[in-house]
């Protein structure tokens, strides 16, 4: 079957795009808060908490700041949401191959671009709000992007090389289904660990929440947002909880299987990655921006480079 327009719309809006990722993202957001609460010996919020938060934000007043750039301020969260939906759709279509459509959508370069679009929108939205703290946060986001981008590209490159120099996500998946998961090899394992830490920085989770730092610069770029616009930011951040671990699963853990016990195994992969990220988040304090640069440029990037060389050598 070839992809038609109607099918594409369905993929973007319902499954695996906006609706599916949004709902799953909000649920995982609850998991995040619940596990964090349990780590701190608290009870934590009820299951529907993040849905309540989101719907509440939709009904609040939107305040547009007078001394900001209004159009950019409004457009940034919408474009960010759009790019997250597209990442989720591209990764999702490839992962859930049983949709039964010839899928040559999952191009890794497009996905890397879209992830950068999200960060750029955070930067633009933050600097358009005419607030000192927001622009500070935006500046830190730029530095963080510079820090983690190279390591992340190298990580993606490892999967690309191991799949025989192809940037297509479905080819990467097919190679893994034929030869076993990439994480089983030394280069794949190193790349997976580096990739996990890069995701932590891409989603600005602790210890890399330098640009949002609630106690210091008051949520940074999101500070002046209120009402529905803030809701869209929160929704796209929640959707990253789905899209980015899915990408990592597609690159190194051999994707999802949906037959028999395979479902459990797939679920285990996803929940495992998410819980590891939550635990990293809860056990590390925020680091300074220079420490983050040091960590990414002097430790993780060389490691990722090593993994790339190993991958070229075929280990």
């Amino acid at each position: 079957m070839k992809a038609s327009i109607g099918w594409l719309l369905f993929a973007i809006l319902i499954f695996p795009g906006l609706f599916f990722t949004g709902v799953l993202g909000l649920i995982v957001g609850w998991l995040d808060r619940k596990v964090s609460a349990r780590v701190q010996y608290r009870v934590g919020p009820p299951f529907s908490q993040n849905f309540n938060d989101f719907f509440k934000l939709l009904g609040k007043e939107t305040i547009i700041v007078r001394n900001g750039i209004h159009s950019l301020f409004v457009i940034a969260p919408l474009v960010a949401l759009g790019s997250t939906v597209l990442i989720a759709t591209l990764v999702g279509i490839t992962l859930f191959q049983w949709l039964g459509v010839a899928n040559d959508f999952g191009d890794l370069i497009v996905i890397m671009y879209l992830m950068m679009v999200f960060s750029v929108m955070v930067i633009l939205g933050g600097s358009a709000s005419g607030n000192v703290y927001s622009s500070l946060g935006a500046g830190r986001e730029i530095k963080l992007l510079l820090a983690d981008e190279l390591a992340f590209i190298l990580v993606c490159l490892v999967a690309v090389i191991k799949a025989g120099y192809t940037f297509r996500l479905d080819a990467i998946l097919a190679t893994q289904q034929a030869q076993g998961m990439f994480i089983a090899s030394p280069s794949g394992a190193i790349a997976f660990i580096v990739g996990l830490l890069c995701l932590q920085a891409k989603m600005t989770l602790p210890p890399f929440h330098i640009s949002e730092a609630e106690t210091e610069i008051v949520e940074g770029p999101l500070m002046e947002y209120s009402g529905p616009l803030l809701g869209f930011w929160k929704l796209s951040q929640a959707m990253l909880w789905v899209a980015l671990p899915f990408l990592l699963i597609a690159l190194f853990l051999g994707g999802f299987t949906v037959e028999g016990y395979g479902i459990l195994w797939s679920l285990l992969k996803y929940v495992g990655i998410v819980v590891v990220m939550i635990l990293i988040k809860n056990t590390n304090p925020r680091i300074r921006i220079d420490t983050a640069l040091h960590f990414f440029w002097k430790i993780l990037t060389p490691l990722a480079f090593l993994a790339t060389i190993l991958a070229v050598l075929g280990v």
Partner: protein, 139 residues
């Protein structure tokens, strides 16, 4: 509207407006977030920016100097917004009652929805006040 108000009642994000308190009430507010009381159970979250707030927790007496600022913070918050006055200071000026610079009519500065007396009020009293607010929202 009823549906929306129930959503709102389950997700009150509080912002802490420090008027001119002796700082004790503020410390008691922080107690609410500790593992013992854990108001995140009710979806209550402390936010750092007034643009994200649903409830303003105001502490301290309103004096001439702070009143315009409190009013300004209230105006900066996205509506609907609720105000909870924490401590005897806010409800009855407490030990500062003979001070020369007190604003006599605090409700003229901002509308206040719930008062929590006590110097400082126990965290249980504050939870009860917020529960009352939730009850009002649920109808």
């Amino acid at each position: 509207m009823g549906w929306y108000k129930r959503r709102l009642a389950k997700s009150l994000w509080v912002f802490h407006v420090s008027g001119s308190p002796c700082n004790n009430c503020d410390i008691e507010i922080l107690d609410l977030l500790t593992p013992k009381y854990d108001v995140e159970r009710f979806g209550i979250k402390l936010v750092g920016s007034v643009r994200h707030a649903d409830v303003l927790l105001v502490t301290g007496v309103f004096n001439q100097k702070i009143a315009p600022r409190i009013k300004r913070i209230y105006e900066q918050a996205p509506k609907p917004i609720f105000v909870v006055a924490i401590g005897t200071c806010t409800s009855g000026t407490c030990c500062f009652k003979d001070s020369y610079n007190i604003v006599p009519d605090r409700e003229a500065v901002i509308p206040i929805d719930v008062y929590v007396p006590g110097c400082p009020p126990k965290p249980e009293a504050m939870i009860e006040a917020v529960a009352k607010l939730i009850g009002v929202l649920n109808g």
